[in-house]
């Protein structure tokens, strides 16, 4: 074997690189440690504990796959709650793909920058209102027995249509879906607006020269160029939809009966009310798998702007 000539410059470069990257690693180390401690370890712990039956403060007993089997085959709320979750998720995906996109496009079309700024601000301000306050407003002022909706119907002589919107088994889920109307979240509007604003001016000019205007321009030119933003919102909405339960906890607690139950809420009840921690962990693991699968499907089949530009699908 031939000995390598000494290379003081190369070694120095290596040490310099190490010093530089070492410093970077040192900087991200606390974040990494916190991430490990508060995210990855609990996830691993939950996965492990899903094979045990245990209460907080009690002794765990290994039960193998019993928690999974019970949840998937014996627990009465399981499939209704999964169905509710899909309904809520797909509804949310649909409305978040449409209404904020329309508003963002309308703002983008405004001729004056100041007007665009003011409208963006107007749609962004409601973000600072806590979600819980919004939900309680809907629950206690709009949907209540003597709330805005019922009293308006009474005024219009439509008293027969009045009902407990959140407690009526036939309307509870629909009432939950309606919360947030007109479904124009400031976050989504901003994301879509950023997408429109990033469309190169040359593309707009070319479209104008070619006579591509109105809806045709929107669907053929602009929409493909904001697909990355749409994809992001879809992924975030799906993840949020599968994890979603706080609003339902506040509004209906999953009732009446199990009409508005979702897996996340049933997991919460099992963990903290019924103290079936192992069982709740099993539900959590299944939700994780579901989110992963939906996200992978989305990544695989939902084309982004970059995919289109590269001609891949």
């Amino acid at each position: 074997m031939k000995s390598r000539p000494s290379d003081p410059l190369g070694r120095e470069r290596l040490f310099a690189n190490l010093r530089f990257s070492g410093g970077c690693y040192l900087i991200i180390l606390p974040t990494l440690a916190l991430l490990l401690t508060f995210i990855y370890l609990p996830v691993a712990w939950a996965f492990l504990k899903s094979f045990y039956a245990f209460e907080v403060g009690g002794t765990p007993h290994y039960v193998g796959l019993a928690n999974y089997v019970e949840y998937l085959t014996q627990d009465p709320p399981t499939w209704l709650s999964v169905l509710n979750m899909f309904v809520i998720t797909f509804f949310n995906v649909a409305v978040r793909m449409v209404f904020p996109l329309i508003i963002a496009r309308l703002i983008y079309a405004l001729p004056r920058e100041r007007a665009r700024y003011l409208y963006r601000l107007a749609f962004l301000i409601p973000i600072v209102v806590p979600a819980i306050a919004v939900q309680l407003l809907w629950s206690r002022m709009i949907f209540a027995d003597y709330g805005l909706l019922n009293e308006t119907l009474n005024l219009l002589g439509l008293g027969a249509w009045t009902r407990g919107w959140l407690s009526d088994p036939h309307t509870a889920l629909a009432a939950i879906l309606c919360i947030g109307f007109p479904f124009v979240g400031g976050f989504e509007v901003l994301i879509y607006y950023a997408g429109f604003a990033n469309i190169p001016e040359s593309v707009n000019e070319a479209a104008t020269l070619e006579g591509c205007t109105g809806l045709s321009r929107f669907f053929r030119i602009e929409l493909p160029l904001v697909l990355s933003q749409l994809k992001l919102i879809v992924i975030l909405t799906i993840i949020g939809g599968v994890q979603y339960f706080e609003s339902i906890l506040v509004l209906t607690q999953g009732g009446p009966g199990f009409k508005t139950m979702v897996p996340g809420l049933w997991m919460y009840y099992n963990a903290f009310s019924f103290q079936r921690m192992g069982y709740a962990c099993a539900i959590g693991v299944l939700l994780f798998v579901m989110i992963l699968a939906l996200t992978l499907l989305n990544l695989r089949y939902f084309r982004s702007t970059e995919d289109l530009q590269q001609g891949t699908a």
């Binding site: 209540a144 407990g164 407690s167 999953g254 009732g255 903290f272 103290q275």
Partner: protein, 519 residues
């Protein structure tokens, strides 16, 4: 059993003592965290109406004067089990919490709560220090409690007492007297009259009765259950514990209910059980449409959108303090069922469904001065801190201190002998003289049982499902809950089964018993 009592530093408490000047001193040997519950929390007005409360802080100030090495921090804590479980498992709960003791029973084997028996069976040192040997509490702390039956009925299934019952509460139907007078209505004497009254009110366009699902699932179920099963008790009360019977008068415990369920009770084949839910459904037809707990039933009543509200005595203070209330009001108790209402009616007056109001439990935080690896009983015996925490409760039980807290507003009936009951609560005190309920279903089994019962009952009462489907759910719910109970608590089933067989001749004359799957 040796009981350590701090007699040396005890004197007569004065509730009007000025708060200690060094309230925020950091050198206190004992810092006790006390959650007195939302009803008595200093600085708040009961139900959000009226003057801010100060009774608890006055009593604490007097306690701190007697024990200069002690500081009591008043903390406001949620009462839901989620809070309790997380705080207790983390060892961060207040030393004294105020929760329904039934929520405590489930976890007593985890040694999260301190049994109070050894202290209750000993003299209250503050009474002893007053030099009145005949005064209640001079011999046993237990003797200070006025409602012995209900108070001792709070004994946990393991035989221990984990709560101090400071006051009593009872429910009633609050009604708009002005509305009743204008329409020629009067409080009913029977269930038939009650339903007729509700129909009359509905005819005027008003909501007859506002209530939430918890009241129907808890109070409503138990009252109707008692009405229909009371006459069966000689043949189905399987546990003849002489000591407890004196207080609980035939109360059906979870193990008894489990055995009865095995013999066909509380199923779709049990006509009385079916009748309980049919009658509740009949009542719900005259109630607010939205039965969920978030519905503000008090608001509906005070705004005169509803003629009646089923609520607890805590509402009295709120109504009296409301200067804008534009009507007179009164209360009546739910009337009894007759044979005309149900062939299974026992024909007895409605029983007591309320009982203990604010219940104080001492948590394992009070033992923080002991080695956590020691046996629990040893920790209890050795902890000086625990004795100081217990002393605070003993001090609160002095009549003058209880009066300062409980009688500060008309909402609860003092459970300490020698404390007068406020005149406004007289109707509730009369109700409390009645016989105690046969059982309390929502507190009988685990919380999953209660949750499913509550949500499926709400679905049924909202016409989201029919009686058969509801009964199918409920039967499976009782199946699971009794099986879990037997697995966790290991009750003496053979003894109960033996009693079941022995009582067969008594049951021979009963009508409407369910078919026994294991005769």
């Amino acid at each position: 059993m040796t009981v350590c009592i701090d007699l040396w530093a005890v004197g007569l408490g004065s509730v009007r003592a000025a708060p200690s000047a060094d309230k925020n001193r950091v050198d206190a040997k004992y810092v006790i965290r006390f959650s007195p519950g939302a009803q008595y929390f200093p600085g708040t007005a009961p139900q959000g109406v009226g003057k801010p409360l100060h009774g608890v802080s006055d009593v604490i100030a007097a306690f701190e004067q007697q024990f200069p090495d002690t500081r009591v921090e008043v903390v406001n804590t949620p009462t839901n089990r989620e809070y309790l479980v997380t705080q207790l498992s983390g060892g961060a709960a207040p030393d004294i919490v105020s929760v329904n003791v039934e929520d405590v029973w489930i976890d007593v084997q985890k040694q999260w709560y301190v049994p109070l028996d050894r202290f209750l069976e000993a003299p209250n040192p503050f009474v002893v220090a007053q030099g009145r040997p005949d005064a209640p509490g001079a011999r046993q702390w237990w003797d200070m409690f006025r409602y012995q039956a209900v108070t001792r009925g709070k004994q946990a299934p393991d035989g221990g007492n984990y709560c101090l019952s400071l006051d009593m509460v009872e429910t009633a139907i609050f009604y708009n007297q002005t509305f009743f007078a204008a329409h020629g209505l009067k409080p009913p004497q029977t269930w038939t009259e009650f339903i007729a009254l509700l129909q009359q009110v509905k005819g005027t366009g008003q909501t007859p009765l506002v209530v939430n699902i918890d009241a129907l699932a808890d109070w409503g179920q138990d009252l109707l259950f008692d009405q229909l099963y009371y006459s069966l008790l000689p043949g189905i009360d399987l546990k003849q514990d002489a000591a407890r019977e004196a207080y609980l008068q035939g109360y059906l415990d979870p193990d008894e209910l489990a055995v009865l369920h095995g013999h066909g009770f509380f199923t779709a084949r049990d006509p009385r059980y079916v009748e309980v839910w049919r009658l509740l459904h009949e009542l719900a037809q005259y109630c607010n449409r939205d039965l969920s707990p978030s519905t503000d039933i008090v608001r509906a009543f005070v705004n005169q959108q509803a003629a009646m509200v089923w609520n607890g005595s805590w509402m009295v203070g709120r109504l009296l303090a409301d200067r804008d209330l534009g009507f007179d009001w009164g209360v009546f108790y739910l009337p009894q069922l007759t044979k005309a209402d149900s062939p299974y009616a026992s024909g007895v007056p409605m029983c007591v469904i309320g009982g203990v109001g604010n219940q104080y439990e001492i948590t394992n935080s009070a033992l923080a001065d002991t080695d956590s690896t020691l046996p629990f009983t040893t920790r209890i015996a050795r902890s000086a801190r625990l004795r100081r925490v217990v002393a605070l409760l003993q001090f609160i039980c002095l009549p003058e201190n209880t009066a300062a807290i409980v009688n500060e507003f008309p909402g609860f009936i003092p459970n300490i002998n020698g404390v007068p009951v406020r005149a406004e609560l007289q109707p509730f005190e009369e109700i409390l003289q009645r016989r105690y309920t046969t059982t309390k279903w929502v507190f009988t089994y685990d919380l999953r049982f209660t949750d499913i019962l509550r949500r499926m009952l709400m679905l049924y009462l909202s016409d989201g499902t029919d009686l058969q489907d509801f009964l199918s759910w409920q039967e499976r719910n009782v199946d699971t809950a009794t099986a879990n109970f037997i697995r966790r608590k290991h009750p003496d089933l053979p003894a109960l089964e033996a009693t079941w067989r022995r009582l067969a001749p008594v049951r021979a004359g009963y009508i409407g018993l369910p078919p026994d799957p294991k005769p």
